[in-house]
């Protein structure tokens, strides 16, 4: 399931032709593409440094003058072919980050103009055993509840590789009431206190201590005071929805960051006129 969600989330990021719903599970492709990548299948796992054979089928009746396969950066372009069989060799860079990458076949038809296939995703995963894990940053001190921060996970698999979004890596939080972590390593401060984020891959575990300041109501920048700097945090997000699960800027918990929150913050200011300390 996690694998699938990651894949769909990557599809949402890269595919121009697809529209994903808020649930991230519905993919709508507009129109029927006259080109189709038949191999590798979407979701296929490949390794850094590997050469992948990509096969493209052309719908009958489409005359083409040239075709290439385009891989999401840093994979790049294949060689161009002017006639069938459309079988391409695509090199996966050895220094690539682990995760999902899109491939699209693109062709020029002498009469029909440019043609493009639906994108497929390949899962680039390290080839070999992960011998050690390193997480950056090593500790996280959040400024306020609702703040988000990504972590970067580096694994030693013969050489160092960024495996933050690898399907081999899993994340968990000791106390989701203090900090929650997503499947792609985004940590969100959810409440005051201290906790630990665990990162696991191939039986190896790394941990990141996380602290979230005690909730001084209205102290949105975590400096222990409530002043105009905190007011500016609200004004910068005026009339936007609050982020879930808890957004310290939404002081009246009505689900929206608005002028009422700005006035409530004024009443919480540590100094008269909300003066900055």
């Amino acid at each position: 399931m996690k694998h699938r969600l990651r894949m769909l989330s990557s599809l949402c990021k890269i595919a121009v032709q697809c529209a994903c719903t808020a649930a991230g599970l519905t993919v709508a492709v507009h129109g029927q593409a006259p080109l189709k990548i038949t191999a590798p299948p979407t979701g296929a796992t490949v390794n850094p440094g590997q050469t992948v054979s990509v096969h493209v089928a052309v719908e009958a009746g489409n005359s083409l003058s040239e075709m290439v396969v385009i891989g999401e950066t840093p994979i790049g372009f294949s060689q161009a072919l002017t006639s069938s069989p459309y079988q391409f060799m695509l090199s996966i860079p050895s220094s690539i980050r682990a995760g999902f990458y899109s491939l699209v076949a693109s062709a020029i038809g002498p009469f029909a103009g440019d043609l493009e296939s639906d994108p497929i995703l390949i899962d680039v995963e390290p080839n070999g055993t992960i011998s050690s894990l390193h997480v950056e940053p090593t500790t996280i001190q959040f400024g306020f509840v609702g703040e988000q921060m990504p972590v970067r996970v580096i694994g030693m698999i013969g050489a160092l590789m960024d495996i933050t979004e690898s399907s081999k890596v899993s994340y968990s939080s000791q106390d989701a009431g203090v900090a929650a972590v997503s499947t792609t390593g985004i940590i969100t401060a959810t409440g005051g206190g201290n906790t630990t984020i665990f990162v696991s891959a191939s039986g190896i575990q790394a941990s990141v201590p996380v602290s979230v300041p005690p909730a001084l109501r209205g102290d949105l920048n975590g400096d222990g005071k409530v002043d105009q700097d905190d007011l500016n945090v609200i004004l910068a997000a005026l009339n936007t929805p609050a982020t879930k699960p808890a957004d310290a800027r939404d002081l009246n918990r009505d689900g929206s960051i608005n002028a009422l929150d700005s006035r409530i913050l004024v009443t919480l200011c540590s100094r008269p006129d909300c003066a900055t300390h």
Binding site: L231, L235, L238, N239, L251, N252, N258, A259, L260, D261, S262, R263, I264, L265, V266, T267, C269, P272, D273, C274
Partner: protein, 216 residues
Amino acid sequence: MERNILGYLGAAVLLLASGTEGFGDTITISLTPSSQTALLGSMVNMTLEIGGLGDHTAPSLGVFDLNLDFNPSILSFDNAVFGDPILSDQLDPTGGGNTITFASASSGSVELFDLSLDSANDLNNLQEPTFVLASLTFDAVDVGTSQLVLTINTLGDADGNPLSADVENANIDVNASAVPEPFAAGLIPAAMTLVAVRLRRGNRLKNSRRRLLNER
């Protein structure tokens, strides 16, 4: 018996009257004047007012965030000056310049925001019940009628609690700066001149012909 009934009715009326006092006035945000005419190319002034707040007591106004929509093909937003021109800014009754304001305009709409940084006590004790929130200026850019429609994004009291208010909108008629002379009317003097010239010429020809015949 009749006397008793009348007595009860009187008491009931008195109770009702005293009971409604505690509810206070309805808060109203209005555009003044509600209707006005302007010449094409001129500037049009309008005030945004609030009434029905507590008279030096709660509820006072601590913040407002309003949208004002208009027809951009007829009016163009020029500027907004926050505060009452006579009573000064009633969201800053202590006079320390303690407000955050902005007027953010886009085509056909302007967002008006004013946040008081004064304490809730100062607002409740010093604020007037009715005052001007902002003076607005538009440019009349084309002939026609534009409605000015207010939408309350947020209206909050001194403690940041929501306030509800009635809204009174306005409209502005923009007329052409000079009334053009109708085309046909403009031709009348020319036509009359032409007729006069023709008549005179006709008379002259007739006289010449008569003179010739007489001579023969």
